[in-house]
Symmetry: C2
Subunit: 177 residues, 2 copies
Amino acid sequence: MRVLGVDPGLTRCGVGVVDGAPGRALAMVGVGVLRTSAEEETPRRLVLIERGIDAWLDEHRPQAVAVERVFSQHNVRTVMGTAQASAVAMLCAARRGLPVALHTPSEVKAAVTGSGRADKTQVGAMVARLLRLDGPPRPADAADALALAICHIWRAPAQDRLRRAAAALRPEGTTAP
Amino acid sequence: MRVLGVDPGLTRCGVGVVDGAPGRALAMVGVGVLRTSAEEETPRRLVLIERGIDAWLDEHRPQAVAVERVFSQHNVRTVMGTAQASAVAMLCAARRGLPVALHTPSEVKAAVTGSGRADKTQVGAMVARLLRLDGPPRPADAADALALAICHIWRAPAQDRLRRAAAALRPEGTTAP
């Protein structure tokens, strides 16, 4: 399975592509950061992020996209930009029919370090170890994007089983709430 | 000047097109609400909103798009969906090179009713009066979209003058912060 992880943001949007499957070795396919200037107006910044994400999807053809789930409890000043950038990432993926999964920061940290309260250094170190890199990817947004992709590769099979089990329990013809 | 107003939302996204100029009569060109089901996943809902906005832009060819400015102080549960839908509206407009203006709810209320604290009923009544409609557009999201377009038609010239004045005061070669 090839997954594009996206750590959304207007100023820095981390993108990382990982190949792997649960119980097998992971391989980094690519990593980068899309940057837009705070001097540009938001609509233009969103267009630049759309072009960047589309270019990554075109080049690496992932089978799924994992985006960090944004919480409105975060820093009020930055949360709107994060929500807007994540909307663009979800849109680019869904337009191509790609499945989109959202994972919370603590799910991602727990997946790669074993603790949902791990700090950036720990996440970067584990991403480097799991992908056999010489050092933690920089900036942190790039490491976070790779961590999201790894988290998705490991969590997706369990999530699928849960979804199928829930569907089997529901009366026929009904849909999830 | 023809303006598309967008009152963003995932469940109901109001859209309204108005023709007019400051000091001249206004005319409603079209009004509607894009709806997506809460049973759909967010990425799919964003694709449906994108298609809807693109269809309105194709059909009515506005010269500018006015979108409600989203504040993160709003209801925490709904603000993320609103931010995501507004990102899609801004993206659709900016992709075509259309200018996008953001107006706050109180700017819009003040523009059409004279008071930034007017309620929904007052806004609906004034939108109906200004556009010579038989009654307030329903639902409120449709009336709000028209109010945004009216607000933009009236505020845009003053905003342009301010922008030009600010640019003239700045040393050459610098840009806005």
